[in-house]
């Protein structure tokens, strides 16, 4: 008899996934091969906006090993349009989104031709045999200019560069009062414009796709976060019967939203393999990934906050411009809308208005990137709270505390109409302040200022919350999203008592195999080791909504638990029969059914015994099918609202503008924790990405629309040497919206950290007349801000620095 006494949930279990990953026994899509496999290479437009006047592929077709060359004209009849699942308004303008340009290219990096050859080397060579003639069209890059009457147009047929305007107004919604009135009556009004620079998800595994058209089902392997959605949309957009498609996401090397996409390359590999009747693989290069995989953020935020002189906030008005890039990808238009409900954050604003205008430009399309909409909102409000503190002469933490929702006020319905189920901002803040040594650092800051030290110290605060666990289907429906937010799971009880857990969540580094095993071990009372988690293959896990938006635990795992409940209910009937007891008298503890009241020492029937009995099926109660397997689909009632207090101490070298993070402390409250090791890892990685937005990363286009940060030499993903060690801790206020009391953690670190860092930098040099520095806070921007006391130093860089510029185009010498 097997029983697990100590609960698995809460244990720092080492990951099951690691064994293959640390030994190189991995199944990245690019590692896979098939008999007769052909290789696809892609020719991309160097022009940001142009008409294609001619494509000559004749030389390429003659090159060794080349099977076929396709242009847009060849595939126009069957390529359909790439999907956009989120029409945010009824009148939203959405252009056709071809996978391969037919007559016009709208961003540099768009596909104009593909080659299929015997080897990847031959395919790459053949790209040089394709000659494309372009006629320049005017390039639209600047969002504000794009909206001016008479502006050049990205899509002439739409007649405008404005895709949609989406509005939430608390006065109109009845969830709060009128913001204009609040502003007009305010004692203090803070107006600021912040720029969310364009970022690139930069997952480590470049995307790869392999399609085998030779079986009854066309099988696509793809480095994707969303195998289930991909299968549905291949069917829906390309007119292929859904049951004739199988999608597999094997080991996937990170996503961060960047693989939450249905890509041109997926459609093209599919179409080309089908046309040729041969298996075809495409693996993007890093440069292609950076210049054509979707980007993130890219907003201009015009903000007005009203308050009383005592620091009490009275209203918040948010006017956004959001850069869509050239096309609307899967959830492009909705990303800024995901932030709409989060600008008010943890604070009790009585009045709120949010207006977002989505704008087309001739740039790479934007879409989800870790946090998607919520980092932008958090950045804006947490920067504003610091500005308010300065304006009213209060400590920035005191201002926050004055305005935040007190722990006894939960559940709390916000000015956006969301109900925050639980939280304790006081507890997280107290713990963080203690770990940070807030008062001591403030004292040192004063001392350095008085001394006129060349290195100044700043302290940045971010007391954030976010909404995640996407999402209640009815809420998605009310936001015009094209699908639901449920998740599916199934439990298979094998005859030997081992368990297969089938999940619609699609892990790409998160550690679901470990966490789901822990959860199921507790639910079914079987050993952790006896559980196998199956995911990422539409043949084994046939139903799912996949992984993004910190949803897997709060939605996906709830489906798993619901399925285990059904297994237990089925097993209880059989166990009762086996023990010759009434089902009503049977209880289930630690994997064993016993007759109630007989005590833990009494003999019972283990769930494994039941599984074997069901396999034999010799003696089951009448009318009971010989099957314990169960499935469940779970639709959440509410979002989850993790929160936390992040504190950053930054040293600014005023002579050079260089920023050094001296310490970073965060205390996150993500409710109950399944595996503290995995949680800590998620926080670390999230912090790194949020800090990278504050300090390092920016996707820059030059005036012709060419991405100048098109390699990892120019797009500065930080290394170990560029980041500090973090102090992380937790408080635990259980969510009331799910049975485990858990909240999401995947995005928290990214959402919270960016404003903490920028607040610290500005705080370090505020006495020198600086009230803002544009992200990323490069040494030059910081130094220029100090020199001029400008509030908006640095401008938008229009050239990448130093990197590939330092690779000699002539080829170098020795």
């Amino acid at each position: 008899m097997t029983s697990t006494i100590e609960p698995e949930v809460g244990k720092a279990r080492l990951r099951k996934e690691d064994a293959r990953l640390i030994t190189g026994r991995t199944r990245w899509t690019d590692n896979l091969t098939l008999p007769g496999l052909q290789h696809m290479a892609v020719l991309r437009s160097p022009m940001a906006h142009a008409r294609i006047t001619n494509i000559d592929t004749s030389a390429a077709r003659e090159m060794p090993g080349v099977l076929a060359v396709f242009t847009g004209a060849d595939l126009a009849g069957e390529q359909g349009s790439l999907p956009c699942a989120w029409p945010i308004t009824e009148d939203m303008k959405a252009p056709d989104a071809p996978s391969i340009a037919v007559d016009t290219v709208n961003f540099a990096g768009e596909v104009v031709a593909v080659v299929v050859a015997r080897t990847a080397y031959e395919a790459a060579d053949a790209l040089e045999g394709i000659d494309v003639d372009y006629d320049d069209l005017p390039v639209v890059l600047d969002m504000e200019a794009a909206l001016v009457e008479g502006a050049d147009l990205v899509h002439a047929d739409l007649g405008t560069n404005k895709s949609a305007t989406w509005i939430f107004d608390s006065g109109e919604a009845g969830t709060g009062s009128d913001v204009e009135q609040a502003i007009s009556e305010a004692e203090v009004v803070i107006e600021r414009t912040y720029r969310q620079q364009r970022l690139i998800p930069a997952f480590m595994e470049p995307r790869a796709i392999m399609v085998d058209p030779t079986g009854e089902q066309l099988t696509m392997w793809s480095a994707t976060q969303i195998p289930h959605i991909l299968r549905f949309l291949l069917a829906a957009q390309l007119g292929v019967p859904e049951h004739k498609i199988r999608v597999i996401a094997p080991d996937v090397g990170g996503g961060f939203g960047g693989k939450l996409q249905v890509t041109p390359e997926e459609f093209l590999t599919f179409l080309v393999a089908r046309r040729l009747g041969k298996p075809v693989k495409y693996t993007e290069t890093r440069s292609e990934s950076l210049q054509s995989g979707h980007h993130g953020r890219d907003q201009i935020q015009k903000l007005t906050l009203s308050a009383r002189r005592d620091g009490t906030v009275t209203g918040l008005k948010v006017e956004l411009l959001a850069d869509m890039g050239a096309y609307l990808r899967l959830v492009t238009p909705g990303v800024p809308i995901l932030g709409a409900f989060m600008f008010n954050a943890i604070y009790k604003f009585p009045a709120y208005r949010f207006v977002c205008t989505n704008v087309f430009t001739n740039k790479v399309p934007t879409d989800a990137y870790r946090g998607a909409g919520r980092p932008e909102a958090t950045y804006a409000i947490e920067r504003l709270m610091d500005e308010l503190a300065v304006e009213v002469g209060m400590d920035p933490m005191v201002v926050r505390e004055k305005n935040w929702i007190k722990h006894e006020e939960f559940p709390f319905t916000t000015v956006c109409g969301l109900t925050y189920d639980s939280g304790n901002y006081e507890a997280a803040t107290a713990k963080a302040m203690d770990l940070f040594g807030y008062d001591g650092l403030r004292a040192e800051q004063r001392e350095r200022r008085e001394r006129g030290d060349t290195v100044q110290l700043g302290i940045g605060i971010s007391t954030f919350t976010e909404m995640c666990g996407l999402a209640p289907s009815r809420v998605l429906g009310s936001l015009s999203y094209g699908a639901g937010g449920w998740e599916h799971a199934a439990i298979r009880m094998l005859p030997t008592g081992k368990v297969e857990v089938v999940t619609g969540s699609s892990a790409h580094g998160q550690g679901h195999e470990t966490a789901w095993s822990q959860i199921v071990a507790d639910q079914l009372g079987v050993p952790f080791e006896d559980i196998e988690v199956l995911h990422g293959d539409t043949q084994s896990s046939h139903k799912g909504m996949d992984t993004y938006g910190s949803r897997s635990l709060t939605v996906g795992a709830m489906a798993v638990i619901a399925a285990t409940d059904k297994v237990k209910a089925k097993a209880a009937k059989i166990a009762a029969h086996m023990m010759e007891a009434s089902e009503d008298d049977v209880e289930f503890t630690s994997g064993t059914f016993r007759v109630r009241g007989t005590g833990a020492e009494a003999a019972g029937v283990s769930i494994q015994d039941v599984a074997l009995a069901v396999f034999a099926a010799h003696d089951l109660p009448d009318g009971v099918e010989p099957n314990l397997d169960s499935e469940a689909t779970y639709d959440p009632e509410n979002f989850s609202f993790p929160h936390g207090t992040h504190l950053c101490a930054a040293e600014v070298d005023t002579e050079t503008g260089q920023v050094r993070l001296r310490s970073y402390v965060c205390v996150d409250d993500i409710g109950k924790v399944v595996n503290p090791l995995i949680v800590e890892g998620q926080v670390h990685g999230g912090l790194a990405q949020g800090i990278a937005q504050a300090l390092f990363e920016e996707a820059v286009h030059d005036e012709s629309g060419t991405l100048t940060t098109g390699t990892l030499a120019d797009y500065l993903v930080p290394s170990a040497a560029d980041l500090p060690s973090f102090t992380t801790d937790r408080t635990e206020t259980p969510a009331t919206s799910n049975v485990l009391g858990v909240k999401g953690v995947g995005e928290a670190g990214t959402i919270a950290s960016t404003p903490a860092v920028v607040n610290a930098i500005v705080d370090a040099v505020r006495h020198l007349g600086v009230s803002d520095i544009q992200m990323p806070c490069t040494p030059m921007r910081v130094w220029q801000a100090i020199q001029t006391g400008q509030t908006d130093a640095g401008g938008l860089g229009d050239e990448a620095g130093g990197g590939l510029g330092s690779i000699d185009p002539s080829g170098g010498a020795q």
Partner: protein, 284 residues
């Protein structure tokens, strides 16, 4: 990404290499460590028809003393330069600068001579070579010639090497007993220098007896900050004199402008970093 096809030769002697290179003409490219060349080939920014690999020529590797000079074989890896006792003793500046080149993997492959011949003005070894008055020993079909560092670097990625010539070794006058510092400024650890300053000084009884200062990425070639050197020599090794001398650091420079740094910022950095480099070198 995948390079274009090329022929490959790995000569076993310098003479053979020079002959192969002369015969192959302009479309041939020398590969030393390949750490700059291979990314360029992969991006297809260059497509030589022949690559001549110096990797099999053992005579091009190693460090030896020759009277008042150190002689470093062109194919000596950064890793070996970093660790070489002679370099640390007699050309400390070079050892320190080499520590900052790229990352450990690149330093295992990349070579001293390769970096100099590549002549990237953002590369970290050019300014030290210039500051140390290195001499480049170059072999062509007509035999050896020696080019002073000041004449070797002629423009962005351009040197005095002629068609068919190979850099075989670098002679560096010893600066035994001098102290040194290489002050590198960049945004992330593995990035190229936005600006860097190579400084080495001989302090005698509290006075700066000799000083050499070279600047990285302040022009199309490395720059010798002669005005700084002149202002330092004979002065007491103090923070004030060093700061005053460093104020001359941007004189005569014509730095590039890019998203990381415009001209004014680079010139400002040159002054600040020169002050820091010299002060650290002088132990101030």
């Amino acid at each position: 990404m995948i390079p274009s096809a090329f022929d490959y030769v790995a000569p076993s002697s310098v003479d053979e290499a020079v002959r192969v290179l002369s015969e192959a003409g302009e479309d041939a490219k020398v590969i030393a460590g390949g750490q700059s060349l291979l990314p360029v080939l992969r991006m297809r920014l260059a497509a030589p028809t022949m690559v001549v690999d110096l990797g099999k020529i053992a005579a091009l590797r190693g460090v030896r003393e020759d009277g008042d000079a150190l002689v470093i074989g062109a194919m000596t890896t950064h890793y070996d330069v970093q660790r070489d006792q002679l370099v640390r003793e007699h050309a400390g500046l070079l050892a320190l600068a080499t520590d900052t080149v790229a990352d450990p993997q690149v330093r295992h492959r990349g070579t001293f001579g390769g970096s100099l011949a590549h002549a990237d003005p953002a590369g970290d070894l050019l300014a030290p070579a210039l500051a140390l008055d290195a001499e480049m020993v170059v072999r062509g079909m007509d035999g050896n010639r020696t080019v002073p560092a000041a004449e070797f670097f002629t423009d962005f990625f351009t040197t005095a090497l002629r068609q068919g010539e190979i850099l075989v070794e670098v002679r560096i006058p010893k600066t035994t007993g001098w102290s040194a510092h290489y002050e590198k400024f960049n945004r992330v650890a593995q990035a190229w220098s936005i600006v860097a300053v190579a400084a080495t000084v001989r302090v005698d009884g509290g006075t700066i007896a000799e000083a050499r200062v070279g600047l990285t990425n302040m022009a199309s070639t490395p720059v010798r900050a002669t005005a700084v050197e002149q202002a330092l020599v004979g002065q007491p090794a103090s923070a004030e004199t060093i700061r005053a001398a460093a104020a001359h650091a941007a004189e005569g420079t014509s730095p590039p402008a890019d998203g990381n740094a415009d001209v004014a910022y680079r010139q400002h950095l040159a002054q600040v970093l020169t002050s820091r480099a010299v002060a650290t070198a002088a132990g101030v």
